[in-house]
Assembly symmetry: C2
Homo-oligomer: 454 residues x 2
Amino acid sequence: MTGGRRRALIIGAVAAGSKAAATAHRRDPDLDVVVLQEEPEIAYSSCGLPYHLADPDAVPRARLVARTPERFRSDGIDLRTGQHVEELDVAAGEIRATDLSTGRSYREPFDSLLVATGAEPISIPLVASAGSPVVTPLRSLYDLDRVMATLPSVGHVVILGCGYIGLEAAEAFRHRGVAVAIVEKQDRILPSFEADLADLVLAELRAAGCEVFLGDGIVGIGDGAAILESSLRLTADLIISAVGIRPRVSLARASGLAIGPTGAIGVDDRMETSEPGVFAAGDCTEATHRITGSPVWLPLGDVANRQGRVAGTNLAGGDARFPGVLGTAIFRVVSLSVGRTGLAPSEAEGAGLEPVTARITAPSQARYMPGSVALEMLLVADRGSGRLLGAQVVGRDGADKAIDIIATAIWGGLGIDDLADVDLAYAPPYSPVFAPVQVAAEVLRGQGLDRSQA
Amino acid sequence: MTGGRRRALIIGAVAAGSKAAATAHRRDPDLDVVVLQEEPEIAYSSCGLPYHLADPDAVPRARLVARTPERFRSDGIDLRTGQHVEELDVAAGEIRATDLSTGRSYREPFDSLLVATGAEPISIPLVASAGSPVVTPLRSLYDLDRVMATLPSVGHVVILGCGYIGLEAAEAFRHRGVAVAIVEKQDRILPSFEADLADLVLAELRAAGCEVFLGDGIVGIGDGAAILESSLRLTADLIISAVGIRPRVSLARASGLAIGPTGAIGVDDRMETSEPGVFAAGDCTEATHRITGSPVWLPLGDVANRQGRVAGTNLAGGDARFPGVLGTAIFRVVSLSVGRTGLAPSEAEGAGLEPVTARITAPSQARYMPGSVALEMLLVADRGSGRLLGAQVVGRDGADKAIDIIATAIWGGLGIDDLADVDLAYAPPYSPVFAPVQVAAEVLRGQGLDRSQA
């Protein structure tokens, strides 16, 4: 303890950690806030990397950084980069770290602690040889810098994995005229989406000039190429490894913090771990799904920021609550917007619910407007109660709006009738008189569900 | 009564009437559905007229018509245009009408009736003289045709009135390179919006080259000009009269249907008037405001369609309910989207509530995205309960989404905390990590309202 002042220590300063630091300091300026970050940079938007890659002039690197270490320090937060935390001694109320610039090892006491160690890319062991393409994930600014340095000599990129990061990177490279091949281990893309919706995304990728190889993997890299399990040899100057990420929990695990069933750190709704006074937030942490009540691991930037805000409030003696997630997510693939919220039908069944679905195609604007384009939507509700459970959308304009309307409705526990009847904003450039979400709700209403159980 | 078949008679076939006819026929194909319409055309989008005016190639006239009389007739609906209904005898269960093409007067019996007579433009008495500009409203296809016929010789248009129709017409004429002057009787535009938000719209109009004269009116028309109360003389080849509309209720009033406090036909939630078996829907009809429980008159295309669907179901023996409105509306002014839902602060006070407000400016996308633009928003909640009451938005991208999220939240009775915490869709092209609606909710949350009354 440092004199009379209490000290909050934060490990990690990308999304959750930096949000928590700023929140804690704002809430209690008398709190000593110490932030230890291993990377040289902090508070950057990992989600923004593909947009810089696509067009560095339109999205300058510096703008991806919301707040610099200098800014934090001038605000009175003791933020230190280049610090590797080796040990966390909860009982003693201290951590042991190494300053990577000097090699000095030191201990740092805390009254309250936040673990915001994030997630790390899963790496595929590939033995490089002379002339091998560069292999890198695309998750940190370091990764981005590496890719940008390589780019002038890159004509062909191979992307391993078809998650959000892989798809957004594919779009970025195509935007720059680089030939793109995507290699996906599974025999389909976007397994959390209905197959017919995922196929629309696959078609969009191929129409944009991406080669997509499904049910295949990489077994080696050689002279300017990637060699696949199928024996195909893909020309590659650069390989983006985007096969997935996992929560970075080795420090938490070694220090005795409970790890939840998802493999991420278990927390309560105050973001407190199994150890009192020790909090966790962001990509290393679980969240509770609002519908199922079960823990889920959703490493998304907005969840990390919201969890970080709650944790920061509580680090500073507050009593904020994180009310859970719906699994809402959206991403762009070339000109398509691909979003979801709540439960997929299979997830609803897995949670013991009986889902009913409507699968519709509806215009995004009044039909006579030249900008009107089709929105493809799956809406999921509970047969017994009519309660809304989830949605999946693929479209252009209006996809994000549809997801957010439905997410709000699910959040509030609303049902099919509410969504069919809600008074939304209509004018020809914005919506047909019956919005796509209402067309879908009306289809479900027309199925004459048994509401006696409601 | 015609044999064993029941007969539903519908007066009016634009939005509510045509929707009701299609709905009733679909629900009960054995029901005789007779529709009498005075205009030659039916089922057209009044809201779409400005978009045809702006660009007839992009929005062809024929596309403004959702369904033709021939289509209705081939579906088995007895739809007759050119029919003027003169009298409605509820006790006898019949109407008296004149076929305008033959002058023949006839009676038509009904078992159930829908009055969907719409609204009519308020006209300003102007005495034309030689060389006077054409004066017309812009509400029907007839009006549109008149404007389009005049257009080749129109270099200057004067628009009277600053409602949605006037503003959308102004944009359309500017799009065609016509000089636009707007004359508004009140000393401000958009009185249902906060003054600072309305000023943004005014600035947008002026930046687009529209002259705007506030606190002024037209006193006469003369040789190629409009003469204002202020003695200004505005060059005018065409004058669009958009000073307002009123419900067309003379037939309903004369036949004894109760007229509500708004001046429109009073109905219950089945859209039934004071006379059993006689329904009303659309722009001639009131609706109940979900928050205040009071009747309001909101002549909007989406409300008319939804009321028409409910009325059509009930005409066919169903029991559908219209659950009311929030006063949600949106329109476009040049590049601005201007929307609202729920109550303005003054309306909340008028309803006996104690509103608290947050007025924010927030980016529509992640700040580093080149397309990120500011959204201006007012969020209104109830001080005692934290319940959301309303919102007003002026912006570009994301304005309609913000309104629809908040409308959904208000519809579900959600509060400030719900909106601040709801799990919305985040990715850089779609939203910052904290969506604008959440930034506004967080401001209200930060005011530390007394929730003990919740």
